[in-house]
């Protein structure tokens, strides 16, 4: 198991290196004019040139990249070119916001999609068809549209929940939960529908295997078979689907945070991209890639724990 984890970790590190290198090259290829944007319209050509030297933009791309990489390896991602804020400080305030939204969404997706998938696969018939229709409808609803409808109904119309903003859990657990209800709902509708379909398929496949029939013949209760045997055997593909959902939620958060004015990584990404704030963008890329690697590693470990064959691959 240790070798398995080490192999996955090594692959993750390679992925981080490759993605950040590609991202750096792509982002810097559009860096022309950044110094002028920072210095503003009134700056002279000399002032703009001096700013380019100060930022290292006059250096060849490989030199700039190595400089950035050596700093990044020490945990120094620099400061925003536009706000002077430390990138690490900014990420440390914004990442918990996005993570709390995404983790709560993941919990909701996991619980609801497992229940829906199991019920659809086990009950079959009309229940299955109704849940399938619900899944298709949910999957086809864009999250930003769902978010806008939720705000119009529950915030503007009924005045039940806040339309915008985020309250940290440490400040007020109740307000924290209230600030997350609508964004999380908007985020999970599509993901739940998609995951439920996948889990239904996995459970249906397992239900048709010989060992399930054997267990039934041995007189085990239906619930025991479903939970202890079917669900466990259907778990690996479900886990893979859920890990993809987590990564999708990080992307979805970019849109949802805009709609709800939530100060997380999504709004940080949009504002940094619009400004061309390269230190911030690179910090975001690194954090996002590391998160994807960590999630995949956790899923791989769980798969390995559930399925010994996976450990030997």
């Amino acid at each position: 198991m240790a070798m398995f984890v080490l192999r996955r970790l090594a692959a993750g590190l390679v992925l981080v290196f490759v993605i950040t290198t590609i991202a750096y090259t792509l982002i810097y290829s559009t860096a022309g004019g950044i110094a002028r944007n920072i210095m503003g319209e009134n700056a002279t050509a000399e002032q703009v040139a001096a700013k380019e030297v100060e930022l290292g933009l006059d250096q060849p791309l490989p030199v700039q990249y190595i400089t950035w990489l050596t700093h990044a390896l020490r945990g120094d991602f620099g400061s925003s070119w536009f706000t002077s804020q430390s990138v690490v400080d900014t990420i440390s305030t914004r990442l918990p916001v996005t993570l709390s939204m995404v983790i709560v969404s993941m919990l909701v997706i996991t619980i609801v999609s497992v229940v829906m998938g199991m019920v659809a696969a086990i009950k079959g018939g009309a229940t299955d068809r109704v849940l399938q229709v619900l899944s298709v409808v949910g999957f086809s609803l864009p999250n930003f549209w769902v978010a806008l409808i939720l705000v119009v109904v529950f915030s503007v119309g009924l005045g039940l929940l806040p339309a915008t903003g985020y309250i940290p859990l440490t400040l007020s657990p109740v307000d924290w939960a209230r600030s997350l209800i609508l964004p999380v709902t908007a985020l999970v509708v599509s993901g739940t529908a998609s995951a439920a379909q996948q889990i239904r398929g996995a459970v249906t496949d397992v239900m048709q295997l010989d060992f399930v029939r054997t267990l039934k013949a041995r007189g085990l209760s239906a619930r025991s078979i479903q939970v202890q045997h079917v669900l466990r055997n259907a778990a690996p593909p479900a886990l893979t689907v859920l890990s993809l959902q987590f990564i999708g939620l990080l992307g979805g958060a970019v849109v949802i945070e805009q709609v709800f004015a939530i100060p997380g990584m999504g709004t940080y990404t949009v504002s940094s991209a619009l400004l061309g704030d390269i230190p911030s963008l690179m910090g975001i890329v690194v954090v996002m890639v590391v998160m994807v690697v960590i999630v995949n590693l956790i899923i791989d470990i769980m798969n390995g724990w559930l399925n010994p064959k996976a450990r030997q691959q």
Partner: protein, 514 residues
């Protein structure tokens, strides 16, 4: 079939869920500000995030909202664009306007305990001039700052600067504690003498900026609110929803949202700060020879049906104009708004007279912020034979691309404040928005006349002569002055600023019905 205990468990679970939901929603749509429990908290939604509190890096426009609460200025420009005493109680020029003497208040203390004196003025003006910020030019015309005594300071110039007093009411006048000027943390922790102090501990950068009353402020009665909260909300829909639900008290909304805001019971205030239209930059005809002919530039001005554009593009939220100066500018001439009425026949005749009866081709930038107007521009210029080709420019490259002078003509939006500041911004050979660096001895002479004319009616008349020349020579083709729209909770009253898109904090009040 589920058992009775199972149904009971399900029932209990449902009851628990309902109780939890009721608890979570029980507070109704209360706002963050309301949660703080003080009706004298003003929550402002800002369309962009703060860039810096370092006085050398301050910006005009929407960013003023962030630094106005913490920094006093030497002179105040009020909502009507009139100059009033600020940290300077009064000021006088010498005869040839090369020395400005300011008398300073003697009862002002910065939030770090440092007293405000003439030495602070000197330190701040030098910090701005040498700080490399966007508005360093505001202090670069001052050759020397001479503290005469603690409460008297002289600003020496090598020649008159008709925009200096206005600059001292804006960024050049913003005073930070001299002890903090060289500290890099000034960018995130302002040390000023303004009516409020920034509460860095309670604020979350990028999300919520909180200011509390400065207990040592010299003019507390001018400011009604105990706490100011500024929340950056660049997404217009999010801001409108926050306004509708009372999460924020006021904010600047897009004109397309005005009717929805009105229908939601929000108060609407407007101020026509920005003009929008074409900057016909290539007045020498270096890239497109036709644009070097004033008849062609006039024809362009006549090709646009501006009243229809105001109605359809601005939803009526604007005024037709043909001059690049706002109504509160000293250079404003009312009759110039109608200098080029829509007249296709005359426009075509002018094109033919200039030898361009068959029109010509021109490349203009297309970018996400302004692409809504491009179909109008292409169609109406097409009516007089000008074939527009749009080149896609990424939004974050637009300003560098335009300033490079590569585009001979482009649609843009510029704010109009004090006339001299606008001259510096658009008309001088080295002005940033004179992007093709047009130079005219005639215009230069008119501007120098302004410089050496005594302040007052004569200088105002000289400024208007500059405007008349620019409109006559059709350096621009302005379409309209677009309203900046401020939507507010009815509990708030405000007076929009005549020059600026942001509203001064002392111009916000609680409505009398409160």
């Amino acid at each position: 079939m589920s058992s009775a205990p199972g149904r009971r468990r399900l029932g209990s679970l449902a009851a628990l869920l309902v109780a939890l939901l009721l608890a979570l929603t029980g507070c109704g749509g209360t706002s963050l500000a309301e949660n703080r429990g003080d009706p004298k908290t003003l929550t402002i939604a800002a369309v962009q995030d703060n860039n810096s509190f370092d006085t050398a890096q301050l910006q005009l426009g929407n960013n003023m909202q962030y630094w106005w609460p913490v920094y006093d200025t030497l002179i105040i420009v009020n909502a009507q664009a009139e100059l009033e005493p600020g940290l300077a109680t009064d000021w006088t020029y010498n005869d040839d306007e090369t020395i400005l003497t300011l008398n300073l208040r003697d009862d002002v203390v910065f939030s770090d305990g440092t007293a405000f004196t003439s030495a602070a003025v000197k330190a701040n003006l030098e910090h701005l001039a040498n700080g490399g910020g966007q508005f360093s030019y505001m202090a670069q015309g001052i050759t020397e700052v001479v503290p005469v005594s603690d409460t008297i300071v002289e600003l020496h110039l090598d020649r008159p600067d008709p925009g200096l007093l206005d600059a001292l009411a804006l960024i050049a006048g913003a005073m930070a504690s001299p002890a903090a000027l060289e500290d890099p943390s000034l960018a995130t922790n302002p040390v000023g003498s303004g009516p409020y102090v920034y509460d860095a501990g309670a604020s979350t950068v990028g999300s919520e900026y909180i200011y509390t009353r400065n207990p040592d402020y010299w003019n507390p009665q001018a400011y009604e609110f105990n706490t100011i909260v500024i929340r950056p909300m660049p997404e217009a829909t999010a801001m409108l929803n926050a306004l509708k639900t009372g999460q924020v008290d006021t904010g600047s909304i897009p004109i397309s949202n005005v009717s929805e805001a009105e229908n939601s019971g929000l108060r609407i205030d407007t101020t026509p700060v920005n003009w929008r239209g074409l900057i016909i930059a290539d007045r020498a005809g270096a890239v497109v020879p036709a644009l070097g002919d004033v008849r062609v530039r006039r024809a362009i001005n006549m090709a646009f049906n501006k009243p229809v554009m105001v109605e359809n593009v601005l939803y009526g939220q604007g005024e037709v104009t043909a001059q690049p100066f706002g109504v509160e500018s000293q250079a404003y001439v009312p009759e110039l708004d109608d200098a080029y009425p829509y007249d296709l026949d005359q426009a075509r005749a002018l094109m033919a007279e200039a030898g361009y009866a068959d029109g010509f081709d021109v490349t203009m930038p297309n970018t996400s912020g302004f692409n809504y107007i491009n179909p109008f521009v292409a169609q109406q210029l097409g009516d007089i034979g000008i074939r527009v080709h749009f080149e896609q420019v990424p939004a974050n490259s637009l300003i560098p691309e335009l300033l490079s002078g590569r585009f001979p003509m482009y649609f843009f939006s510029l704010g109009s404040q004090d006339a001299w500041g606008d001259f510096r911004k658009t008309l001088l050979p080295n002005s940033p928005w004179n992007t093709s660096k047009s130079d005219s001895p005639e215009l230069a002479a008119l501007i120098e006349t302004v410089r050496y004319t005594e302040p007052g009616e004569e200088r105002t008349a000289a400024m208007q002569d500059v405007n008349r020349w620019v409109v006559d020579q059709a350096w621009f083709a302005p379409f309209f002055r677009e309203n900046t729209v401020l939507a507010s909770n009815p509990r708030i009253e405000l007076t929009p600023h005549a020059w600026l898109v942001a509203t001064r904090i002392d111009d916000y009040h609680l409505a009398e019905t409160n």
